[in-house]
């Protein structure tokens, strides 16, 4: 299985080279060709999750004295499935989407390699191979983000992205430095065998949290994400949000649950609170952002926060020896990662389809697309329902599992954790509710109502490749939502390996019910809920049509008797966000609204202006950037000294060294 997946990754890398030689020609066939290795790798991952033996492989590459180690165990396999599915869907989508790319030479050559690099990251079994793949992944995705490099915001986004990626990589390098010690044996096998002190383990975990968290979009290292994800070509955005953030989560799991000794319990509150805080912060921003892809990117931050919260819970339970609860929390985290891959890719593809059809990504230029692009609109409805955690779709299933694991917290022995966990759960509940609000806004303004621009009014449905890819993902959302057992049972080997426990087999439960612990604790049967709703809805419709009337008449909108013809009188992105901005934005976004109301009799229009701040950007990022610039400016004086002063520097260094020496001697 490992050989197959390694070959798939290699095939993708070679496909990149081929594309580079073709220089942007043959984009369609290349995207189509990229589907196969993704499916193969995903299949190999499924095979390992289904019980195929763990494979290991050493290639004479990379760090010379240890070679490049590859290994496909259950954790890698799960994420390989994720990459494979997401990659295959994105590639299928790109067959259609790529046709409209203005400069394919800037996208096609990097795309298969990006997929391949992500596969190698999860396959790598030594620090060097891991980091090379990790950085190549960052680098290629950066190149993809820079595809539309003419716009200044794209360049700014790319810059911030790669600098943050470099910072993350440095943190990972430091972590691996601590892991491997001075011996120079960077293979994971040797690292597993070595003993690490508690202090070292905590330091490593913190560094990996920075390294992986900055890639996943964990606050306060998240700011690059909405910028970069929203400007990339849409199939790349889908991959970056849907899949690459998961690769980052893999990195965190791999190190904290595999390479170091179990962490002490007191590290988990930090993780839980960071995760929950990230979730709320991300989704509040999603509620006020006005571009489709930016909203989706902020929502990615929210979901990553949810996943990290669940991981933190798993860690807390594992530290207390509660293997079952830990398995529940970890299953929830992984399941949510899987689901997020499915619906976020779907949503980005839909946003891409809209962008393709209308050329707009601002909500204020969209509207009414449900008429012009019915299939896209339907598939997107599935996506927004899934991401808003509505039963019976998959988003709710994993959200439900997260809450179920929260409810296992009374078993924890530390009072601090007992208090923090429900508080974090409250934050997650807030985030979930805000997510629904954000996606009502997203879908309602984007697809419903009347078109707000000519482009939206003339949009055409996109081609069948894009629709097929979205339909596949929508089906995946439905499947994972209705039969979560299909995914959860595959997670058993992963949780067994990581926290030493696994959920009871879900497929064996009566009626395919989801019973994580016991029927008395809580159960949820999405299939039946779906059937009930469907039955109830159709029964209601039947009864109403039977007893009442079917008569329908079309007429102008009522609108309290004053229908307004201009589509601009509809609620827009800013106005829909206003209540929430008012309520939550005051502290989180330092929002200020300025109203300039002309006095009666004055004909000039009233003006309303919203001043909104990103406090993390202004309080943490800009000061650092300013400090660097200030230091650079003052250091720069040294470029303009006279030779005499340079000589004085030489003399000063000489004299000070001599003084040091004489004091030493």
């Amino acid at each position: 299985m490992l050989e197959i997946s390694a070959a798939a990754a290699l095939g993708l890398l070679l496909l990149s080279l081929t594309a580079a030689f073709l220089g942007g020609r043959g984009a369609g066939p290349i995207y189509a060709l990229a589907i196969l290795p993704c499916l193969v790798a995903g299949g190999a991952g499924l095979g390992v999750l289904g019980g195929a033996p763990v494979g290991a492989l050493t290639l004479p590459l990379g760090l010379p004295w240890i070679g490049a180690h590859l290994r496909l165990d259950s954790l890698s396999a799960f994420f390989l499935v994720l990459i494979g599915l997401g990659g295959a869907a994105a590639s299928l989508y790109a067959v259609g989407y790529g046709r409209h790319e203005e400069d394919p030479a800037r996208v096609v050559p990097f795309y298969p390699g990006f997929l391949g690099a992500m596969m190698v990251v999860v396959l790598a079994d030594d620090a060097f191979t891991f980091l090379v793949a990790w950085e190549v992944m960052s680098l290629l995705s950066w190149a993809l983000v820079m595809a539309h490099h003419r716009a200044i915001e794209v360049r700014a986004a790319g810059y911030l992205y790669l600098v943050m990626a470099a910072m993350g990589t440095m943190a990972l390098i430091l972590a691996f430095g601590l892991l491997a010690g001075t011996s120079g044996d960077y293979s994971f096998a040797a690292i597993r065998a070595a003993h690490h002190s508690v202090a070292a383990s905590v330091a490593i975990a913190a560094l990996v949290l920075i390294g992986a968290g900055s890639k996943a979009g964990l606050a306060p290292f998240h700011l690059w994400l909405p910028r970069a994800h929203s400007v990339a070509p849409s199939h790349v955005s889908a991959l970056m949000s849907g899949v690459m953030t998961k690769v980052a989560i893999y990195a965190f799991l791999r190190v904290t649950f595999g390479l170091i000794d179990p962490l002490p319990w007191w590290t988990s509150p930090a993780l839980i609170l960071i995760g929950a805080g990230t979730a709320v912060l991300g989704i509040v921003n999603a509620n006020v952002a006005s571009e489709t892809k930016r909203i989706l990117a902020y929502s990615t931050i929210e979901n990553v926060g949810v996943i990290f919260t669940a991981i933190g819970l798993a860690q807390a339970f594992a530290a207390d020896g509660l293997h079952m609860a830990a398995a529940l929390a970890l299953s929830a985290a992984l399941f949510h990662a899987f689901n997020h891959m499915a619906f976020k890719s779907l949503l980005f593809m839909g946003a891409g389809a809209v962008l393709n059809a209308t050329g707009r990504r601002d909500l204020d230029g969209l509207g009414g697309l449900i008429h012009r692009m019915p299939v896209t609109a339907f598939l997107m409805l599935v996506g927004v329902m899934a991401i808003s955690a509505l039963p019976p779709l998959n988003g709710f299933a994993s959200e439900w599992m997260v809450f179920q694991s929260v409810l296992a917290s009374p078993a924890l022995t530390q009072l601090g954790l007992q208090i923090i966990v429900p508080a974090a759960a409250g934050l997650l509940a807030l985030a979930a509710a805000l997510a629904a609000a954000a996606f009502v806004r997203f879908y309602g303004l984007g697809f419903l109502g009347r078109p707000r621009s000519a482009a939206a009014g003339e949009a055409r449905e996109v081609d069948r490749f894009m629709l097929a890819a979205m339909a596949l993902l929508a089906a995946l959302c439905a499947l994972a939502g209705l039969m979560p057992a299909l995914v959860l049972d595959r997670l058993a080997p992963v949780t067994q390996a990581l926290v030493g426990g696994h959920l009871p087999q879900q497929l064996a439960q009566p009626w395919l019910t989801l019973v994580p612990v016991s029927a008395a604790r809580g159960s949820y049967n999405p299939l039946l809920v779906f059937v009930f709703i469907a039955l109830a809805a159709s029964a209601a419709a039947w009864v109403v049509h039977r007893l009442g009337t079917r008569a329908t008449r079309r007429g102008p909108a009522w609108d309290c008797g004053f229908p307004e013809t201009s589509p601009l009188t509809q609620y827009g992105a800013g106005s829909f966000a206003q209540p929430l901005r008012q309520v939550l934005g005051g502290t989180l976004l330092a929002v200020r609204e300025e109203v300039d109301m002309p006095p009666p009799g004055d004909a000039r229009p009233a003006r309303h202006r919203v001043i909104q701040h990103d406090l993390i950007w202004e309080r943490a990022y800009l000061p650092v950037a300013d400090a660097v610039q200030r230091v650079a400016t003052s250091a720069n004086r040294l470029q303009f000294l006279s030779i005499r002063r340079y000589l004085a520097l030489v003399l000063a260094s000489l004299v000070s060294l001599l003084v040091v020496l004489s004091l030493w001697g």
Binding site: L407, G426, Y443, L448, V529, P563, L580, V583
Partner: protein, 318 residues
Amino acid sequence: MGMIEGFGIQGLQMLLVVALAPGLTGLVRRIKARLMRRRGASILQPYRDIARLMRKEVVLAENASWLFRAAPYLIFAATWVAAALVPTFATGLQFSWTADLIALVALLGSARFFLALAALDVGTGFGGLGASREMMFASMAEPAMLLTVFVIALVAGSTQLSTVVQAFSGPTVGLRVSLGMAAIALIIVAIAENGRIPVDNPSTHLELTMVHEAMVLEYSGRHLAMIELAAALKLLLYVSLIACLFAPWGIAREGDGPAALAFGALAYVGKLAVGGSALAAFEISVAKMRIFRVPSFLGFALMLGLLGTLLLFVSRTL
């Protein structure tokens, strides 16, 4: 309990809630009217309204999409399924395990989601106004409700409503500060979610103050009937939920005989009457608040829920 019997009770309960829901709305309106020294309409007036609406022709806005037409049924179905999950007169319903309290919250969330989408579909200013305010309220109310669910679930050790009710009606729970807070939080959420005074006014048609009514402004005929019915069901759901959680007396246990079932049903109707009267009394004694006061009202519920969970741990570990 036999399979057939279980199905029977389950079906009975589902029909019961639909049948009772307009009645409860009518009761509240009636009591409110009486308290305001009006004669008021009959308790049965909501039934008549719905029947009349069902027979009326639907006038659809020109640009309404299929979503607009499907939404009323979906909203109704989701609310109905949610309402059917709440034990009214008996626990141990046949399908109670299909969804727990969390799923119940989410089902109500689904209904709201579709309602808000439908409100935006025609593309009028009022629809957007209603939807944006509704979602703002919901984003405070839903976490508050989930936190009360946590309090309850942590006390009962389960999120399964039947189990919870059985546990609460047993002697082990006793009186707890946390549960009191949860009860108040849940009541606040119920007021907000059902658009009652002081959050919203269900009987207003003054445009700028309305939330729920603004969203359904474009609906007519049978669609409006479904939505009205769903709204009534939701009110019933909340009242029954509060009743079965915090006043679990008289609810028939699993395996109880027909006598107990009958007593349970009687007790249930009694509880509804009491709940409806209390709501009416509360509604006439307060004034509607400004729209941006609502978040702090709901924030209070959120705080209570959070405090409830915290006190739960503190009091238990002490």
